[in-house]
């Protein structure tokens, strides 16, 4: 090592709590003792405000390069670019070393931080050292989650002639997309485009479909994971069930239908929806009288194929796979948390998912949009005979863009709200439809055009968040500011739709722990690198796809699912797998880097 670099290093810490656990002094001290490196300061002690201090410091320490390390060090880069430029140094000689990469964020991992700094000083790509390559022992893949992301990833891998196990928690694949009526902005019916894919999955020779199953435990490492799977008792034999539906007809127990977002009731033995894959029945143990009270068993008696296994128990099986694709998706925000909207109290305040089912021809009212009415027992239910709403209000950003709930934007609500407005206006041409929004985020291909079209269809767009919903004389009373027209709107409507945001599933955290991947502050799975590797995790054998990484619309989800499959296929072709070496030793890194930079110097 003849050339000693003269690098100044500055540490930037954002006040976001990520850097709390880290022993900053240790890292700062370490970096200062790397030959040729000068510690300039950190943002706590020396905030980047007065440029003259820095110009003098740089000149005094005779550095020609600058390294900014820490959490999102780029936040202060423009300041230093200017400093460099004004001190007569080459402003492009600034390197950023972001601790957000390589997952130091969640952990107090000084060794890793130091390694990154060392690599950055020596201008070596840390990937080459910190990632270790392991052999791909097992060529099978596990896909967790049977929504559109899981389906796409499975098909992608299976089509390249590799075995895939597709795990789905519920009784059918399809996920949220199957529940939607139409998809924006082209308005093709979700089922029409999704069901062929589902059927493909069901029939694919390379896909082993495991519905009604959950991951219990994951051990092993990239290329060779052992996964314990809980196969919940379906209580109906998949092979013998012919899907005739007699059992369901005769079943006396009812429960709210998950597929219809709770707008209807289903039987205790049921099929999630007519195009379900597999198209077989299952028993919900929570509502089944036989399971809860030990008597009934009507279904078993009437089944012509003798497929009902009332006493079936949960099973645990173990499979070995080389790669895992996580596509667990999301759940919708619980609108009840916004007390001012009265969801759950007022019968005709619905979530978007409920409306989605309501407009669907296969939904609770056969596609008629009606208000909830009281039945004889006093329950509020949807019927085809219910009154059609004369006015519908759609409220955007429910649970999203709100520090009291989720600060992030859920990315899809604007567009699906516009779509729902269109669907409602199509079915109820005389209804007055109003959308209350903050910003319309119609960003995708053809989205803006769709927005313009919706506006032309006579749907009223009001920029103003609705603050409160009250019920007066059976009508819902809304109050909001119409910002653009400078007035206060007090409107009475028959139905309010809450455009609820997306949030991680309840058990996302525990799954992340099981798999050894990180989650961000909102609970979404954290990708290896936001920009360059949005579908991988630091464990090369595990990729993430779809909304579980962050809210997304269908095309983005599908693209991401294919991208996740790309990493898997690459691993399968090369029979190699890589993983972040979390137990990296700084001394080894130094040794390795030095060797590496010598080689490259020789080559030059």
């Amino acid at each position: 090592m003849n050339k000693i670099p003269s690098v100044g290093i500055y540490f930037h810490y954002e006040n976001n709590g990520y850097s709390n656990g880290l022993n900053k002094q240790k890292i700062e001290k370490y970096s200062d003792q790397i030959p040729g490196v000068r510690y300039i300061g950190n943002s706590h002690d020396l905030p980047p405000i007065d440029k003259n201090i820095f110009i003098e410091k740089l000149k005094g320490s005779r550095v020609s390069k600058l390294l900014i390390a820490g959490y999102d060090p780029g936040m202060v880069k423009p300041f230093f670019t200017r400093i460099m430029s004004e001190s007569g140094l080459d402003p492009t000689n600034i390197t950023l070393c972001n601790f957000r990469d390589y997952g130091i964020m969640g952990r107090a991992d000084e060794q890793m931080a130091e390694s990154l700094i060392y690599c950055a000083v020596m201008t070596v790509n840390p990937d080459e050292i910190i990632n270790k390559v392991v052999k791909q022992k097992n060529q099978d893949t596990l896909v967790i989650g049977g929504g559109i992301a899981g389906i796409q990833a499975s098909l992608e891998i299976a089509n390249s002639n590799h075995k895939v196990s597709l795990l789905e928690r519920t009784g059918t694949i399809g996920g949220h997309m199957a529940m939607f009526d139409k998809t924006f902005p082209t308005l093709d019916c979700a089922a029409c485009i999704l069901t062929p894919k589902m059927v493909d999955v069901g029939l694919h020779p390379n896909i082993d479909l495991m519905t009604y199953s959950e991951v219990k435990e994951v051990t092993g490492g990239p290329g060779n994971y052992k996964v314990k799977i809980l196969k919940k008792a379906r209580r109906v034999d998949l092979k013998t069930c012919i899907g005739c539906g007699i059992c369901s007809e005769k079943c006396p127990a009812k429960a709210s239908s998950e597929f219809d977002a709770g707008t209807t009731l289903r039987k205790a033995i049921y099929i999630p929806f007519p195009q379900a894959v597999p198209n077989k029945y299952l028993i919900d143990e929570k509502s089944c009288i036989y399971v809860t009270k030990g008597k009934c068993g009507v279904c078993a008696k009437v089944c012509p194929a003798n497929a009902v296994r009332l006493d079936e128990q949960d099973q645990e099986i173990e499979i070995t796979v080389g790669n895992i694709v996580v596509a667990t998706g999301f759940k919708t925000f619980d609108a009840g948390k916004v007390a001012n909207f009265g969801y759950g109290t007022f019968p005709n305040v619905l979530t978007s998912l409920e409306l989605e089912r309501l407009v669907n021809a296969a939904g609770p009212t056969g596609g008629n949009i009606t208000q909830r009415t009281k039945d004889k027992k006093g329950n509020w239910i949807f019927t085809e005979e219910g009154a059609e709403p004369e006015s519908v209000a759609i409220i955007h950003c429910v649970g999203s863009r709100d520090v009291n709930n989720h600060q992030y934007c859920s990315r899809v609500c604007c567009m699906y709200s516009l779509k729902l407005a269109h669907l409602v206006s199509e079915k109820l041409p005389d209804a007055r439809i109003t959308e209350y929004y903050i910003d319309i985020r119609a960003f995708g291909k053809g989205y803006e055009e769709f927005y313009e079209r919706i506006k032309q269809e006579g749907i009223e767009m009001i920029r103003g968040r609705t603050a409160k919903i009250e019920e007066r004389n059976g009508k819902l009373h809304l109050r909001s500011e119409d910002i653009i027209n400078n007035k206060l709107i007090e409107s009475e409507v028959d139905m309010v739709i809450l455009a609820v945001g997306l949030e991680p599933r309840e058990d996302a955290q525990s799954l992340a722990k099981m798999l050894g991947i990180d989650t961000n502050k909102d609970g979404w799975f954290e990708e290896a690198n936001y920009l360059t590797d949005p579908t991988s995790t630091h464990s090369g054998g595990i990729t993430i796809a779809g909304v579980c990484q962050g809210p997304k619309d269908i095309p983005d989800t599908v693209a991401q699912a294919s991208a996740a499959a790309c990493s898997v296929i690459q691993n399968l072709i090369t029979k190699k797998n890589k993983t972040l070496d979390k137990t990296v030793l700084i001394s080894l890194v130094e040794e390795y880097v030095n060797k590496l930079s010598e080689i490259t110097e020789d080559q030059i």
């Binding site: 139409k182 082209t186 308005l187 093709d188 019916c189 199509e426 053809g446």
Partner: protein, 140 residues
């Protein structure tokens, strides 16, 4: 009952047929007088098909392709245009009103334009009245 014309139309698979599908998925209403035949490209439209349609009793024939420059097969729509011009001259010589045969460009996103086009053509054909071709051609 009011005269209801029948329009045979040839739609290219990539743009116009998709555009017509879009009109459907967008539930845009238009006159029920059109009968759509899917072909891969407007370049496949043989004048024989047009004449045959008139002969079999169509009151109008509509050919739709991708917009110039957008052809999925590069230039099929231009070829269609050239044939169409010659054919159009011929049918006028044969005493068939020129508005009974139309060539229009409909892209995959022009569901609305397609619906308007059908309505517009239907209206025109209603003005023109039933096509006599089939009866005249019949040999007693």
């Amino acid at each position: 009952m009011e005269f209801q014309p029948t329009i045979i139309s040839f739609l290219c698979n990539w743009c116009s047929y998709t555009g017509a599908d879009l009109a459907g998925t967008s539930r845009m209403k238009y006159a029920p007088n059109i009968r759509i035949i899917r072909i891969m490209c407007s370049g496949r439209v043989d004048p024989t098909f047009v004449l045959k349609s008139f002969r079999e009793g169509a009151d109008g024939v509509l050919i739709c392709g991708c917009h110039p420059g957008d052809c999925h097969y590069h230039e099929g729509n231009y070829k269609c245009l050239r044939r169409f011009k010659l054919l159009h001259k011929y049918i006028q010589q044969m005493g068939i009103h020129k508005d009974r045969l139309r060539l229009e460009w409909i892209s995959a996103s022009e569901g609305r334009q397609f619906a308007d086009l059908v309505d517009n053509m239907t209206e025109r054909l209603m003005e023109l009245g039933p096509s006599p071709i089939k009866e005249i051609m019949e040999i007693a």
